[in-house]
């Protein structure tokens, strides 16, 4: 309206309009600052004026009190002595005080001394003071001093202050607003313009040009503009990077598509994209070869048409599970009917490709011709059936042989033991009943016979034990080897109580094994240790558990005579001995029995030793 109707006014406000259009933000900021500071100035002025008014009124009241303190007694004294000039001087002195407009002294005798104007002519604060005289002897009420102060001076000063404060505040606010605007323009607005200009000119070709504001670098403390500039430049770089990335991704997609296509087309297995209704959307050459259909023909068919009727149910069932999302992929070996009517076994692996809304888009199917493998499997099945038959026959033969061997062993042991008992018995009788008829040599021979026969009996016993162990039924259960070892240690100690042997038995060693057989193993090993430490003054036998190759291993260790490791391979052979019977008695069956038992448990047994430094026997007991 101004522009159209009032050219002179237009001229006056034109700079403002120009500024408003050029700097709408600054214009609004200027307006808000001026508005806010004006409201603030008005509020503070009101508060200040109210405070000033109270102070002024307070000052008048103070002045009244000062008058009471300073003048009242003097006036009373002057009144007492009728010293009118002094009274006048005093009340004129009071009237000369600021804001005091009227002072009246009234006496009971009708005297009236007035200084200033009549009190009723102005709005005033009026105070009356009694004028009393008291000199200690005489006391009298002499009159009343009435002092009236005009508020006109207070109002005048307030008006003056209002004017002054408002003018100064208006000027101050305007100048501050201009200054802030200038600063804002200098610090922000012009840079915003630069940014806007930059943003307008930004395109794909100019993305490499950074946004630079015409201002000093802020160093380590970037401000908001620096941050915005930095963000814009980061965005620009990000766009540049994004574009490069996108280009690379597109190339990668193209390359991937090429690879996929070649993979699809040249795969050694058949591949197809299958529509949800089963139609082959896309097939590769290999699938065409498997099915015998040319590509164009095959892409008009559904997988249901190719599926062997016997495999249709399972195929449809699996397809439903795929379609409903119950499974994401599945593999199925099934039969296709080739174009020529022949059957081909295929292993079909299918997975689903879904649309963004979750509905099925198509299947990906990989079809492998497994007809050859199927045929081979059938052949293997046939061969396996023959093999099992042979194993059964051989097992029966072996069982019969074992039975015979067992019978033989039993009879040998029993049949051999009877004459041995006779030999030993009669030899003993000879030695006991015919000792006087035998010379020393004869007795020696007889004793030799006895020892030989007893040794043979022992050999037979050991062999029978070995035999039993081989054949006895094995029951695995948790066995407290520590308790077993302690029990066995007690037993061997009883055989030679006079020996001083230290047993060190690790507690709570539990193993999954046959308790009876474990007793045989530990009994043999403790017996050996006891035997081979007989020459040791401070013998020590240990039982414990250790770890070998990650598995638990159990050991029996002694500090006895030990043996030469060069002969360790003979240790566990039946009737193999590394010492003479004279040195250490024995049959050589013990360690063989140990090995047999550990073998039956599927474990291993071995020994470590050095001559004169004791020996250690280890064994393992696999849990299954």
């Amino acid at each position: 309206v101004l522009v159209c109707t009032d050219p002179p006014q237009l001229n006056r406000v034109a700079p403002l309009f120009r500024f408003r259009h050029a700097h709408p933000l600054g214009y609004r900021m200027l307006g808000y600052i001026v508005l806010f500071s004006s409201v603030l100035a008005l509020l503070t002025t009101a508060v200040q004026l109210f405070s000033d008014y109270r102070l002024d009124v307070h000052a008048i009241n103070d002045r009244m009190e000062q008058i009471e303190r300073s003048y009242l007694q003097t006036i009373a004294n002057s009144l007492w002595t009728f010293d009118e000039p002094q009274i006048k001087i005093q009340i004129e002195g009071i009237v000369a005080l600021p804001d005091i407009k009227s002072v009246v002294v009234d006496t009971p005798f009708g005297q009236r001394y007035l200084s200033g104007t009549e009190p009723q002519n102005f709005a005033a604060i009026t105070r009356s003071f009694p004028l009393d005289y008291n000199d200690g002897e005489k006391e009298a009420h002499l009159g009343t001093l009435t002092v009236s102060a005009s508020l006109e001076g207070v109002y005048q000063r307030l008006r003056h202050r209002v004017f002054l404060i408002l003018i100064t505040n208006a000027v101050k606010n305007f100048l501050i607003a201009l200054f802030i605007l200038f600063i804002f323009q200098r610090l922000v607005t012009r840079h915003l313009g630069t940014m806007a200009e930059y943003a307008r000119g930004l395109d794909l070709n100019s993305l490499h040009l950074p946004l630079i504001l015409p201002r000093k670098a802020r160093g380590k403390s970037p401000d908001e503009l620096d941050q915005v500039t930095s963000a814009i430049n980061e965005m620009r770089l990000s766009l540049l990077g994004g574009m490069a990335e996108r280009k690379r991704a597109e190339e990668a997609v193209r390359e991937s598509e090429t690879r996929f296509r070649s993979l699809f087309e040249q795969a050694a297995v058949g591949m197809a994209q299958v529509a949800p209704d089963g139609r082959f959307m896309r097939v590769n050459d290999r699938l065409c070869a498997i099915t015998g259909y040319p590509r164009e023909k095959l892409q008009t068919k559904t997988y249901q048409e190719l599926t062997h009727p016997d495999d249709m149910d399972i195929t449809l069932k699996e397809a439903r599970r795929l379609e409903t999302g119950e499974i994401s992929q599945h593999a199925l070996e099934k039969r296709y009917l080739r174009k020529d009517g022949s059957v081909v076994w295929v292993r079909r692996t299918a997975s689903t490709i879904r649309k963004p809304d979750g509905t099925l888009d198509h299947y990906i199917a990989v079809i492998e011709d497994v007809t050859a493998r199927k045929l081979a499997e059938e052949e293997i099945s046939k061969l396996n059936a023959g093999l099992e038959q042979r194993v059964s026959e051989r097992t029966a033969q072996l069982q019969a042989a074992n039975k015979e061997l067992e019978t033989f062993s039993y009879s040998v042991s029993h049949d051999l033991r009877a004459p041995l008992r006779s030999i030993d018995g009669f030899s003993r009788i000879l030695l006991e009943d015919y000792a006087d008829k035998l010379d020393a040599e004869g007795k020696h021979y007889l004793q030799t016979v006895r020892r030989a026969s007893q040794r043979m009996a022992q050999l037979i016993d050991d062999m029978l034990q070995l035999s039993r162990i081989t054949r006895s039924e094995m029951r695995r259960a948790p066995v407290d080897l520590s308790a077993l070892a302690r029990n066995l240690a007690d037993e061997v100690e009883k055989t030679e109580p006079e020996r001083c042997v230290e047993f060190i038995i690790e507690p709570k060693v539990i193993a999954q094994a046959d308790a009876h057989l474990m007793r045989v193993v530990l009994g043999n090993l403790f017996g050996n240790a006891w035997k081979f430490t007989s020459q040791q003054r401070a013998a020590r036998i240990e039982f414990g558990r250790t770890t070998r190759e990650g598995a638990p291993a159990y050991f029996v260790r002694d500090n006895g005579v030990g043996f030469d490791m060069a002969y360790s391979h003979k240790l566990f052979g039946a009737f193999q001995r590394l010492h003479t019977t004279a040195e250490f008695p024995g049959t050589g069956i013990g360690l063989a029995t140990v090995q047999r038992v550990i073998d039956r448990h599927g474990g291993q047994v071995w020994a470590e030793s050095e001559v004169g430094h004791g020996a250690a026997f280890y064994f393992t007991l696999p849990t299954n």
Binding site: W80, T81, F82, E84, F109, Q111, K138, A140
Partner: protein, 398 residues
Amino acid sequence: VKTTASILVLPNFFVRASHGACMGFLAGLLVLLGVSAAAAAPPLPVSEGPKVACINPGWKNDQFWQDTDGAMEAAARELGVRLRIYEAPRPEDVIALVRQLADSPDRPDYILTTTQKGARTYLLEATEDAKIPTFIFNSGLLDEDRRRVGGPREHFKYWIGEMLPHEEQAGRDLANLLVDAAVQAKRTGPDGRVRVLALGGTETDSGAQLRNEGLKRALAERHDAELLQVVNAHWVYEEARDKALLMFRRYPEVDVLWSANDRMALGAIEAMRSMGREPGREIMVGGMDWDARVLSAVEQGKMVATIGGQILEGAWAMVLLCDHYHGIDFASERVAWRSEMLPLTKETAGPSSKYLGPGNWEKLNFRRFSKFYNPDLKTYNFSIKTLMGEPGATKAKP
């Protein structure tokens, strides 16, 4: 005969030079004309006496000082004293005048002055510096100054003497006269006590203070009177009139008005008249100073009495200085003299009035009190009764 001349070198002061013996020539002329006193002893010829400068407060319109000057001038003429009267209204004027006199070709032999108006000891210091013998009359040092410097010829060697009225006694006497008159007239309060109001002079004047003390002492001694209030009116008629008006309003029951001088008493009487109250009947009024204007009021019974006589102090001082000049030092009797103050009542006011006032002083014979002129006189007897009443007190009519 009064001669008045100006002293050109002392322009700031109004000078009345009364060459009481201008010198012996005039006195001799008077003798030849048969105006000299018809004393009992054969009169001695008038000798050339000392040059005396009298400095008084200069209240030209004050009847008291007019009377004092008149009596003094009459005595000077008779004694051959070359008297000049200077008026200096302020203490500093007095001091300046003393310094000028000391350096002037007409340097006086004596200075006669009063310490009225708070001149305190500055005047005596000035005359001491000027080495001019000084005699104080009418109003002396305040008590505090007197305690400090003592009396004449003590601290100040040139302060040769003083003659002061019995101010306190006068105040006391006036109070007693007034209360007695009120009692006699049955003007008392319900309790039978006479209610007294007082108009005081200037509170800084020793005379005013002493008169007030006399008043208070008298009333303290009596049980039939009470002092309502003392109001200072500064010896001034108008002020006394205005204040009396207010006093009578504040104390309508007043029986006695005691005034420290006659002028203030006249002001109070004026106030009474304006209020329709009758002085002498309703309120007993009394004053001091023997003001010629109140004598008629005393005679008419409007005033009970006026106490005075100190107006003769100047004349008595002329006698002492004259003798001192001629080698007869009054210190043989005393240096501090007290003048007699007597009441003039309705009965005595009339006869006395013929000696008081302008033109009447010359009737009195002052030479008879001088040891110089009366070699047989052994002691001074400055008696008013002797002066006025006894044979030879007055001069023979020409």
